[in-house]
């Protein structure tokens, strides 16, 4: 038994490939917990960052600096009355949010947080991810239809049209990236590298190809990789229905779009799914173009010293966060009313510092590094999502379709063809 548990730790494959169901299960639980925490954190961060962009403070009341606001919201949503319209199609009304959440979470099976840190590595990883994530449109349509109400119906129609048309552009960009795994070509730095393996659809092998070619695909065949990345970056916002493509839930037109009739727990499932989907597509983008778990400057800053410096980043981040929390604690008003909050923030700082110190230990440091760089890149995308939301007005439906079909699709095709030509010629 013990052997079964420890044997996997010495292997260098994912639990899925190793056939170790126990560890696969542990990974699934970890990802599930991690995602939930990420969504909660994202909720708080989005409100805070957006608030600061809009010259206001954001949540400040529940816990120090509103840190407990997402938890308060979650509790509110769970104990709220769950209203189902009398004319709604009961079963479909129930299935829709569940379906969306399942698709959003299932995609994470193949997301490689590190060379071995994934539930499994399929040889069709990218295809699997795109396929599963595109199922969520079904949930949206079902939600809109089952509500039996005009606004959700229009929202659902918009959403399905939007998701379907942007998936094509998205797919083309992905194909361009997949093509790059098999093409030797030259990197951004003008250095020709030796032969690399065959083309692959496996998420882990795509990152490994970037490692072997010494170029993240965003820089490959400059500017082709960049354009393909750009297409994907635009399409993924449309795919997740976020600003400026948040037409399905354009609150100024359709109140809340396809989930207008939802409330309480079922609504919170939509919320959870939306944020998980954002993280999922960002993970694809990071994997395909930004070198997945690879640390930055792998070719410029090499050697043992740099390896050590970069491996200290995770600990440094947590210690920095701890420091910020500590400063926040010291700046709390000295009033008995704030005592609990001050203590809570101090505790939070202590936990962050503890994690930071834990990350300094060499075995942990080495294991956690990949996950850290991956998460950092995904977090960058999350920040972009919030930034877009704070900056852009919303596209109109016909304009959205035009951008999708008349701009992204032809450009995507062009990039794909050029990538193939350039790759073969060079």
């Amino acid at each position: 038994m013990l052997d079964y548990v420890t044997s996997y730790l010495r292997s260098n494959t994912t639990p899925g490939q190793a056939g170790n169901l126990l560890w696969a299960f542990i990974y699934i639980i970890l990802i599930f917990l991690g995602l939930s925490v990420a969504v909660i954190a994202m909720n708080w961060l989005e409100r805070k960052i957006l608030a600061h962009m809009q010259v206001r403070l954001g949540p400040m009341r529940v816990g120090p600096h509103g840190l407990l606001q997402p938890i308060a919201d979650a509790i509110k949503l769970l104990i709220k009355e769950d209203i189902m319209p009398a004319e709604a199609d009961k079963s479909v009304f129930w299935i829709a949010p569940v379906l969306i959440v399942i698709t959003a979470f299932t995609t994470f099976i193949v997301v490689p947080f590190g060379p071995t840190h994934a539930v499994t590595d399929m040889n069709i990883g990218v295809l699997f991810m795109l396929g599963v994530s595109s199922l969520s449109v079904l949930g949206v349509v079902m939600a809109g239809w089952a509500s039996n109400s005009h606004y959700p119906l229009i929202g659902a129609l918009r959403s399905s049209a939007q998701m379907v048309s942007y998936e094509i552009a998205m797919g083309l960009a992905v194909v361009a990236a997949v093509l790059m795994t098999s093409l030797h070509g030259i990197g951004l730095y003008g250095v020709a590298h030796g032969a690399v393996g065959d083309g692959t659809l496996s998420m882990i092998d795509i990152v490994k190809a970037q490692q072997d070619q010494h170029a993240w695909f965003i820089f490959k065949f400059f500017p082709l990789g960049l354009i393909a990345f750009f297409i994907f970056a635009v399409a993924m916002i449309a795919e997740t229905n976020r600003a400026p493509f948040d037409l399905p839930e354009a609150e100024s037109e359709l109140t809340a779009g396809f989930h207008t009739e939802y409330s309480g727990f079922r609504w919170s499932l939509f919320f959870l799914a939306e944020y998980s989907a954002m993280i999922a597509v960002s993970s694809i983008a990071v994997t395909l173009w930004l070198g997945g778990w690879l640390r930055p400057f792998p070719t410029w800053l090499t050697g043992e010293t740099w390896d050590l410096v970069f491996s200290l980043f995770p600990a440094a981040t947590f210690l920095l966060l701890a420091l910020i929390a500590l400063v926040g604690t010291l700046r709390m008003p000295k009033h008995p009313y704030f005592r609990v909050q001050t203590l809570g923030l101090a505790g939070f700082a202590a936990v962050l510092a503890l994690i930071g110190i834990l990350l300094l230990l060499p075995p942990v440091r080495d294991r956690i590094q990949d996950i850290y760089w991956f998460s950092l890149k995904v977090a960058g995308f999350m920040y972009l999502y919030i930034w877009y939301r704070g900056t852009f007005p919303r596209y109109r439906f016909d304009q959205l379709m035009r951008v999708g079909w008349k701009v992204l699709l032809p450009v995507g095709l062009g990039v794909l063809i050029l990538t193939a030509i350039v790759g073969v010629l060079l």
Partner: protein, 384 residues
């Protein structure tokens, strides 16, 4: 069934080409509780997919019978009521009413009062336009400008509060002039505000004017020609954006407007984008007017000689001013008593709202929201 005129199904179908794949129109109800209808406007939309086939406005949810109330109040007592019509431009409403009654009484407000009136009214125009910009941008999906404009509008409201104690329903003016003398440091406050807000307007423009999505969402949306505007009685920035150079401040100068040098910004296309540009230019012109006025407020009394009990002679009067939303007119019939015999308000929001149907027909649902925003209506004024 031989005679087509008696064929009921034929009549019902009209001349639509029915096929077995034919779809029905969708009638949806927008409002009165809808985030983008700026209050309690209810619009019934007839949609073909996303395309708007027609609209019907249902108004009156905020009807308080202001005009009827006027008949049961003395002239001075009615004064605060006008603030509640266009509550985001209460100062302008008060100015229009006071000037109308003054005209009826044949009284001239003293020059100092007129200058104070101009400064406050123009500040109010800025406040109103800022609120319009924020909500209009919010309707189109840009959420950030709202907070910027509300932050800056706050400074105007602070000046109002310091001047007359109220922020929104100010009741700043009285028949015959102003009740309150300017407070110490009023000029300094206003000048400071001008210096503060000038770069802020650039800031709003930076976010929107050249923003690709903003331009696409507003260009060629809700087009209306100058002729149509005149036919419908549409006034204000909507009319000027259609290329008609009509501004009551220039055409029939009131208060002290003839003393100042300012321009009337006009647009060409009469679309939502032009209306946006016109209002932005108007904000700058307002700043220009205030800057001229604040330096040379004349000394002297702030109240003309008005009898304690206002009893205008028998007669009728129509007086209009350029409110932020368009031409705001008051028609007062006096029977020589202390109360108006009849008072009729020409509210710019109400008249401008008429153009909604014409502007959105054939456009998309999202444009309805943009057009309601660009008409800059206040339901308190529409329903009165």
């Amino acid at each position: 069934m031989s005679d087509p005129s008696t064929n009921i199904s034929h009549l019902e179908l009209g001349d639509r080409n029915e096929t077995f794949l034919d779809s029905n129109e969708l009638v949806i109800n927008m409002g009165p509780q809808h985030p983008a209808t700026h209050g309690v406007l209810r619009v019934i939309l007839k949609l073909d997919g996303e395309k708007v086939l027609g609209t019907e406005c249902v108004i009156g949810y905020l009807h308080r019978g202001v005009e009827k109330i006027a008949e049961n109040r003395t002239y001075a007592m009615f004064n605060p009521y006008v603030d509640r019509m266009d509550y985001v431009a209460a100062v302008s409403n008060g100015l229009g009413y006071c000037e109308a009654v003054e005209k009826l009484l044949n009284v001239q407000a003293p020059p100092r009062a007129n200058y104070i009136r101009v400064i406050l009214t123009e500040l109010n125009r800025l406040a109103s336009h800022m609120l319009w910009l924020g909500t209009h941008a919010l309707d189109i999906g840009a959420i950030t400008p709202l907070f910027y404009t509300f932050r800056d509008r706050e400074e105007i409201l602070k000046i109002f509060e310091k001047y007359c104690g109220a922020r929104l329903t100010t009741h700043a003016f009285r028949i015959g002039g102003c009740l309150y003398e300017t407070y110490d440091g009023f000029e300094k406050d206003v000048t400071n505000f001008l210096d503060f807000v000038t770069p802020k307007i650039d800031e709003y423009e930076e976010l929107l004017t050249t923003n690709r999505i903003w331009v696409e969402r507003t260009k060629n949306v809700g087009k209306i020609s100058g002729k149509e505007c005149i036919a419908l009685g549409v006034t204000g920035p909507v009319l000027r954006a259609s290329g008609v150079r009509w501004d009551v401040r220039k055409a029939q100068p009131y208060a002290a407007y003839s003393d100042f040098d300012f321009e009337i910004p006009i647009g060409q296309n009469g679309d939502t984008y032009d209306r946006y540009l016109v209002r932005m230019a108007e904000m700058r012109q307002s700043l220009h007017i205030i800057r001229q006025a604040v330096g040379k407020i004349p000394e002297g009394p702030i109240m003309a000689k008005v009898p304690k009990v206002i009893k205008p002679p028998v007669g009728e009067i129509y007086h209009s001013i350029e409110a932020p939303k368009g031409e705001l007119g008051y028609f007062i019939v006096s029977d020589g008593s202390t109360q108006p015999y009849r008072l009729r308000v020409r509210p710019p929001s109400f008249v401008n709202l008429q153009a909604l149907d014409m502007m959105v027909r054939g456009q998309l649902v999202a444009d309805v929201v943009a057009v309601i925003g660009t008409l800059d209506i206040v339901l308190g004024e529409v329903d009165r």
